[in-house]
């Protein structure tokens, strides 16, 4: 049996540091919002001429007075991602860019994707994204509150907040773009983290009924170990699926799958080290669940 409980303190300190660091990053560095949430224009183009590169494209576009232009390679040597604010909301901007590029580099470009999000829509999308995440956290809170005693709920929610905050913190640190699909990833992480915690908690609850003489400190360890192979197998298969999306699913799904990969790793870790140590710290005992059972 692995002694997970020996490291509760160390990992609790680590997690606290991670959360503080993430909050600092989120407050001072902030998130790199994509055009979904910031507004602006995105163009994905493919060039058939390999002589064209990022800097020549950037120079060309900078002449067009588009405001802040970002040009990046997108997956391979031929695909580029161009983003700019489009502050003046020029109507035919795409047409202008196309003709300008054709003039400078010859007719070598295929506009594969164009997205244009106005300021009103982007602030609405941001708002509904924040609402979606808040609602999902609230719903999980209600669910776990109905299902378990408050000590368990507290542990699960703490683990949940940890996963969401640290994943976002990592996105801030690595300057990865936050777009609509990241919101979907965060919501799925919320579901996954909860799922993982609940399975261990179910076992803790069962063992609390079974053994009245084992302290919660050891009882959580027994429960973690009993569910360990399930935790690992499910995490591994989920990660296998996600890694496959990350490596083969194309550029567009990269951010989404990366967020999910982080989330699954954090979720697995937090259900062992955060959720369970909360039970220990709140001195959960057989009485906790018996009291609750009497009430019902």
């Amino acid at each position: 049996m692995i002694k997970f409980n020996k490291f509760y303190n160390q990992f609790n300190i680590l997690s606290s540091l991670l959360i503080v660091a993430s909050l600092i990053l989120l407050t001072f560095k902030g998130l790199n919002f994509g055009i979904d949430f910031k507004g602006g224009t995105l163009i994905e183009l493919r060039s058939s001429d390999l002589k064209i590169n990022v800097s020549s494209l950037r120079d060309n576009l900078n002449q067009m007075d588009l405001g802040d232009v970002s040009v990046k390679k997108f997956g391979n040597n031929r695909d580029y991602l161009i983003k700019f604010e489009n502050k003046d909301k020029k109507e035919n901007i795409i047409k202008d860019i196309k003709s300008n590029l054709d003039k400078s580099f010859g007719n070598n470009f295929d506009f594969r994707r164009v997205e244009n999000v106005g300021p009103k829509v982007s602030s609405e999308l941001l708002r509904s994204g924040i609402i979606a995440i808040s609602v999902s956290l609230a719903v999980m809170l209600i669910y776990i509150w109905i299902r378990f005693e408050w000590q368990f709920s507290f542990g699960a929610i703490l683990a949940l907040f940890h996963d969401v905050i640290v994943t976002l913190g990592l996105f801030s640190l690595l300057n990865l773009e936050i777009n609509l699909s990241i919101i979907a990833a965060v919501l799925t992480i919320v579901g996954y983290s909860m799922n993982d915690t609940v399975v261990i908690f179910d076992r803790v609850r069962e063992n609390l009924k079974k053994y009245s003489d084992i302290k919660i400190f050891d009882l959580t360890n027994i429960s973690i170990n009993e569910t360990l192979s399930r935790t690992l197998i499910t995490s591994i298969t989920t990660l296998l699926a996600l890694l496959s999306i990350f490596f083969f699913g194309g550029e567009i799904l990269k951010g989404f799958s990366l967020a999910m990969i982080f989330g699954v790793i954090f979720g697995t870790y937090s259900s062992i080290y955060i959720a369970n140590s909360v039970l220990v710290r709140l001195k959960v005992s057989q009485k906790t669940i018996l009291k609750e059972d009497e009430k019902i």
């Binding site: 609602v135 719903v139 979907a184 179910d202 499910t234 699926a241 999306i245």
Partner: protein, 517 residues
């Protein structure tokens, strides 16, 4: 628990075969199909354009207030009630009333069946809110008044947008209302929305008005620019003809000048008015104005009684075609602004499909190999279940003709990764039970029973996340929540019916074997 009745086995097999049959529909391309259903591909996979248009209602509000102002003027004149200083400024109509008429006027506006302030019987709210400050009366749109105005301009805009898009003839466009001042347009298969965007961006408000450079016109004049942006002319505010009077408009080649023109036919009322106006104004310039700009202002040489004519203005064939199309489909009630646009080219869509499929196949293979190595025979059972699970998932998506998006494919791959969870929970539990229980059948039974709460809990949490995402998410993200959510149900079905059936068959045959799992 492990026992399955014959009827149940038949039922489970039937459901599996039914959905597999439906899922197979997506692969067949023959026309001879029993069920004509297929999974729809989202715009991000088949390529196409998504446009969100917002109606700018300011001019409509202005127009309606102007109408109301003149209505109020005539209404009280007829009633013999004197009101003064009737003005329209900003979004308010104001006028003064002498003390003796105050109550009277107030009643006219606040009466439940008021003629000049309607809506009350229907909405329990009037069209206008009235505020009285001593002798000053002020009218502004009520909440309900604004809602009604927006609804009606949205209805009109939707109709005009549909007509314009139908005229262009793209395949299976999707035109929907969003909120009460937006119209959503989805155009599958369109990789260059430039033309549609410019057609939808025009109000196409056409008027024929006389040029009055001597500045004397009882209707007032206004200065308008020509299309070229350089020249301008004073034009009477009196409208001789408007776009509403047009029956038809077509691009044509003028044989004499070799120029592309737009020829139009007027309805009866229009033809009559046009004939009268031309006969009494020979020698004057008639300006043809589109959206506040003069296209051309030809001099009238003769009476035009035929009810048809032509507009010239240095058109190319394309611009003449577009103008005819706009005139045929009618003017928008208010300008439309494109506030969100997402266009994906068909080759990027195809690349996304390919990448998604490769990721699905590789992810699936990795999971299957891992599970087989881990559980051997029971791994095989899990894997068979997983395959059937996937087919049922596709079958359900086909049956409901769901829209599959790129994130939706990601949802399917994720379902594959998470679907084994329930089986793993059960098998791990059975392993534990077998430590204390020698009878295989009893151990398997209690393994299934004892793992049930954990499985339900685990799936409910994911389902809750998917449901929230479905209601909050938009476009492609919605596709993700659909596959993830449906995936949970198919997973539970396949675990509790298919996997358990296969397990029960195997365990019953090998009930005396040791170290079964």
């Amino acid at each position: 628990m492990l026992y399955f009745s014959k009827l149940r086995i038949i039922f489970v097999s039937f459901i599996c075969l039914f959905f597999i049959f439906i899922a197979s529909n997506n692969l067949l391309s023959t026309d001879k199909k029993l069920i004509d259903k297929k999974i729809n591909l989202g715009l991000d996979l088949q390529g196409g354009s998504y446009l969100l248009l917002e109606i700018d209602n300011t001019p409509v509000i202005e127009q309606k207030l102007q109408n109301a102002t003149s209505l109020i003027r005539t209404y009280f004149k007829e009633k013999g009630i004197r009101i003064g200083n009737l003005t329209l400024s900003g979004k308010k109509i104001s006028f003064t009333v002498e003390n003796q008429f105050k109550q009277n006027v107030k009643n006219e506006f606040e009466n439940e069946n008021s003629e000049i302030n309607p809506y009350y019987p229907r909405f329990k709210s009037h069209q206008f809110d009235l505020t009285v400050l001593e002798n000053l009366f002020e009218l502004s749109f009520s909440k309900q008044g604004i809602i009604e105005l927006k609804n009606s301009s949205q209805d009109q805009a939707l109709e005009i947008v549909r007509r314009r898009i139908d005229e262009i003839g793209t395949n299976e466009p999707n035109i929907l209302k969003r909120g009460n001042d937006r119209v959503l347009v989805e155009l599958p298969g369109l990789d260059d929305p430039m033309r549609i965007k410019s057609l939808l961006g025009k109000t196409a408000n056409l008027t024929f008005r006389f040029v009055s450079n001597n500045n004397q016109d009882s209707f007032g004049v206004e200065k308008l620019k020509y299309e070229n942006g350089l020249d301008e002319d004073f034009v009477s505010k009196r409208i001789i003809l408007s776009g509403e009077n047009l029956l038809d408009a077509q691009p044509r080649m003028d044989n004499q000048t070799n120029e592309t023109v737009v020829s139009f036919t007027l309805d009866r009322v229009g033809a009559k008015r046009f004939g009268k106006a031309t006969s009494s104004n020979i020698g004057r310039k008639l300006a043809i104005i589109l959206d506040g700009k003069i296209i051309s202002a030809p001099v009238i040489r003769d009476t035009i009684a035929s009810g048809s004519g032509q507009i010239s203005g240095g058109f190319t064939f394309q611009s003449a075609t577009d103008l005819s199309l706009l005139l045929r489909s009618g003017a928008l009630p208010a300008p439309l602004n494109i506030i969100e646009e997402r266009t994906v080219g068909p080759d990027l869509g195809q690349d996304s499909i390919n990448a998604g499929m490769i990721a699905l196949i590789i992810g699936f293979a990795l999971v299957i190999i891992f599970i087989f190595i881990k559980y051997k025979t029971f791994g095989l059972i899990t894997n068979i279940t997983l395959i059937i699970n996937l087919l049922i998932l596709l079958g359900i998506l086909t049956l409901f003709e769901a829209t599959l998006t790129l994130p939706g494919i990601a949802g399917i791959i994720l379902t594959v990764g998470m679907a084994v969870d329930a089986n793993v929970l059960i098998f791990e539990r059975i392993k534990e039970e077998l430590k204390n229980e020698k009878n295989n059948i009893i151990a398997f039974d209690s393994g299934y029973i004892k793992s049930r709460t954990a499985i339900l809990d685990a799936n409910i949490t994911t389902l809750l996340a998917a449901i929230i995402l479905f209601f909050m998410g938009s476009g492609p993200i919605k596709g993700f929540s659909v596959t993830l959510g449906v995936g949970i149900f198919t997973t539970l079905f396949s675990v509790y019916f298919i996997a358990r059936l296969l397990t029960s068959i195997y365990v019953t045959k090998n009930k005396d074997k040791e170290a079964l799992i």
